[in-house]
Amino acid sequence: MFTCEVDIQKDLTSVSLAGELSIYSAAQLFNEHIKTLDYSNDFLVNLQGVEEIDTAGVQILLMLFRRVWHEGKTCEVTGMSASVQNYLNLFNLNEAMPVSGLQLS
C-alpha cells in the first residue's frame, strides 16, 4: 500500500510518496499517479514516509526525475527515509536523486 499526494502551485509541483513502493504496487503507482502528472513545473519529491522500497520503486523514481529534467525543469528530493537512503547507498545512486537544500518536514 502506498500513498501519493500531489500539491500543485503555480510553478512548483510537490509530490509526497509514502508507504511501500514495491513491485506489487508499481503498476498502479506509475500508471495511475506518476504518469498522469503535469510535467510543466519544477518538482519537489518528499520520500520521508516511504517505509519500503525495492528496485521497481526506485525505477519509477528514476523515471520521474528524468521526465522532469526532460522538460528542462528541476527535480529534487526534500525528505528522505531510511529505506530509500539505504537503497541509494547500496546501489550508488545518490547522484541520480539529488537532495534539495530545503528540508520540508
Binding site: 513491485i23 525495492d54 528496485t55 528514476l62 523515471m63 546501489f91 541520480a96
Partner: protein, 720 residues
Amino acid sequence: MPSEAALEIFYAESDELLEAMDSALLRMEDGEYDSEILNEIFRSAHTIKGSAGIFGLDHIVEFTHVVENILDRARDDEIRIESELLNIIFKCRDHMSVLVHASSDEFAEDDAMQEAGRLLLESLKPWAQAAEPESSSDDPNSTPATQAGNWHISLRLTPECLRNGMDPNSFVSFLGSIGTVVYIETLMDALPEFDNFDPEVLYLAYEIALDADVDRDAIENAFAFVQEDSQIRILPPDSVVDEYVALIEALPESNERIGEILIRCGAISEQTLQQALATQLGEKVAHGKARQIGELLEDEKGVSNKVVQAAVDKQRSSEIKKPASTAPQLIRVDAERLDHLINLIGELVINRQRVDLLAAHTGNESLIEAVNSLGGFTELLRDAALNLRMVPIGSTFQRFKRIVRDTAQELGKNIQLVIEGAETELDRLMVEKLTDPLTHIVRNAMDHGIEPLEVRRENNKPEAGTLKLAAFHDAGNIVIEISDDGGGIVPEKIRAKAVEKGVIDEDTHLPEQDILQLVFHPGFSTAENVTNLSGRGVGMDVVKRNVEALQGHIEIHSVVGEGTTFRIRLPLTLAIIDGFHVSTGQTQFIVPQAAVIECTDLASHIDKNGRNCINLRGDMIPYVALREIFQLPDKEPDIEEKSKERTDNLLVVQVGEDRAGILVDHLHGEVQTVVKPMGPIFKPLKGVGGSSLLGNGDIAFILDITQLIETVITVEAHEL
C-alpha cells in the same frame, strides 16, 4: 525483499534437496561410498546454503556452512565419513530441515533450537578444518581454492526478474555479506522513453567490484535460482587484461562506456585500457576481423569458463537436476488447481449419465451413437484425471527407511526393513493421511512386535528382525500390509487386559479375530512399559479411525511366536468409481464393479436345504438379501411390470478370499459415478460407503462390499 512466491519456491526446493540428501546418506550407510555420492550430498547442502543467503536467512547459512565444509573435506578425500560422523551428519541434516522451516525471527527467539545447532557443530569439530576459508582479507594464509582481492561482477538480469520475485537488491546484499562492495555502478542505459516505460520490468544493469576472499562457487551460488537468460559474468581478482577486454566486447553498451566503468571499479587502469583497446582495434584493422574471444582467454589463470553465463548454467544444471539420468520431466502444479480440475471432470461424468439417459429415451440412433462416443472420451478423460491424483506409495515407504533406522538404534534392536510393491499407486490425498497411522503401526511393531535380541536367540530366530511394508491392488482396493516376524500378539494377554479395563466382561467369549480387534479399542494398551514410542493407549484407536475416515478397513493377523501382520484395505480413489447399478424396491444401490465376479439368479443355485447359501458350481457361498440387510419395504405385488420381471438377481462379490452373494430385485447396468462420502452421522450404517447422483437425479447408495461381506459371514456364523 524477495517475494512470498520466491520464498515458497525456496522451501519446496530445499525440501527436495533435503530428501535427496537423506536418501543419499542412507545409501552411504548401506555401503555406497564414492565421489559421486559425496558430491551429491555436498551439492545439496551447498545449494541450500547459497539460496538461503539470497533470502537473508543467515541462521541457515551459518549452520550449513560448517556442515558443507565437512562434506567438502570428505569430497577432497581429506577425511572419510565413517559411521560416527555419518550419524552426526544425519542429525545435521535433520537440524537443517528444522532451520529451513523457521524464519529468522523464530530462530532468534528459540534458544533450544540455537543450542541444538551449537551442540551439533561442536560434535563436528574433530573433523573440521583448522582454518575457515571464508574469512576475509585478515587471513593471510587463505587456502588456495579462494582468491582474495577485487572480483568484478557484471549483472545483466532478465527484464522479467522483478515480476518473478527476484530483486537485484537481494543479490547485491548477499554479495555484501560475503565481502565488501567496493564499487557499484547502476547502468540506466536501458530505461526507455517515459511513455514506453513498463513499471514491472527491470531496465537496470550493474557492474560491481567486490573485495572478497572467496572461491568462485560462493559467488556463483548466489545466482543459482536466477533466470536462464540472465547474464552474469564473474571475473576473479587478477584477471588478465584480455579478459576485461573480452568483457567489454561482450557487453551491449559501448566499449568506451564499459571501459570507463571498469576504471571506476578499479578493475584496470586507464592506461592499460587504452593500450588494450588500441591493440584490439589494431588487430581488427590488421587482420580484417577481431580475434575470437575464446582465443583471448587461452592463457589465463582463474577463469575456467568462457566469460559468459556458462557458470550459471552449469550451476543450475548440476545442482538442481536430480542425479538419475532417466528422470522424467516434472512440473510443479498447485494442488488446488488439480483438485478443481478433477471436480469439474466429476461433474462432467454425472452430466454425461444424464445425457446418456435422455438420448436413450429419444431413440435417435445417431444421437445415441454420438453420446456413446462422448461417453468413451469422458471415460478416458476421467481416467487421465484420476491418474494425476495417483502417486506411487513408494515415496511414503521410503520415509520409513529413516524412521526404522533411527528407531532401531533407539531400541538397540537390529531390524531390517523390506519394501514390496513400492510402485503401487494410490490417491495423493490418501498418502498424506496414511503416514501417521502407518508410522504408529511401524513403531508399535518395532517396539512390541520384534523381540529383544536374547529372546530371539533363545527361540532360534535370526538376530535381525524383519519388518515388511507391502502394497498391492486387490478387487478395486489397495491393500497395505505391515508385517513383522516378531513374537506375535498373544490373545490371552489382550483378553486379560480388556477385562481389566472393563472393555469386556470376564465371561464374554470372543473368536480370536475379535479379540485381536480389541487392540483398536480406545484406552487399550498391553505394553508393560509405556515407552516414548507407543503403548500409551492413544495410538491404535486413532489408527483405526484414520483408516476408516479414508473409507478403509484394518485387520490384524497374528501367529504367536511367528509374527503379526496388519492389513489395511483402502478404496483406490475417493473420487470416481465404476459401478453396477442395482435396486431393491424403490432404493437404488451401486456395487463397485471391481468387486463383482458374477451375476446370476438365485433360483438356479439355491441350496436345497434351505440355508442361506447358494451352490455355485460346487462351492457353498453364503448370500443375503439387500432387502433384509437394509430392512427395505416388501415388494408391492400390484406393480404389474415389475412383478413379471425376475426379482431374484444375485450378484456374487469377492473381497480378498471371501465371497458372498447379494440378492437384489433389479439390475440396471454399468455406471460410473462420482462418490460423495456419507456424513459422519451415517457412520453406524454398515454396508454403505458413500452415495452418488444418478443420471436421472435419483440418489444411489454405494455399497461397502467389505463391510457387507463381514455382515453376511457373521450372520451365517451365528446361524450355523
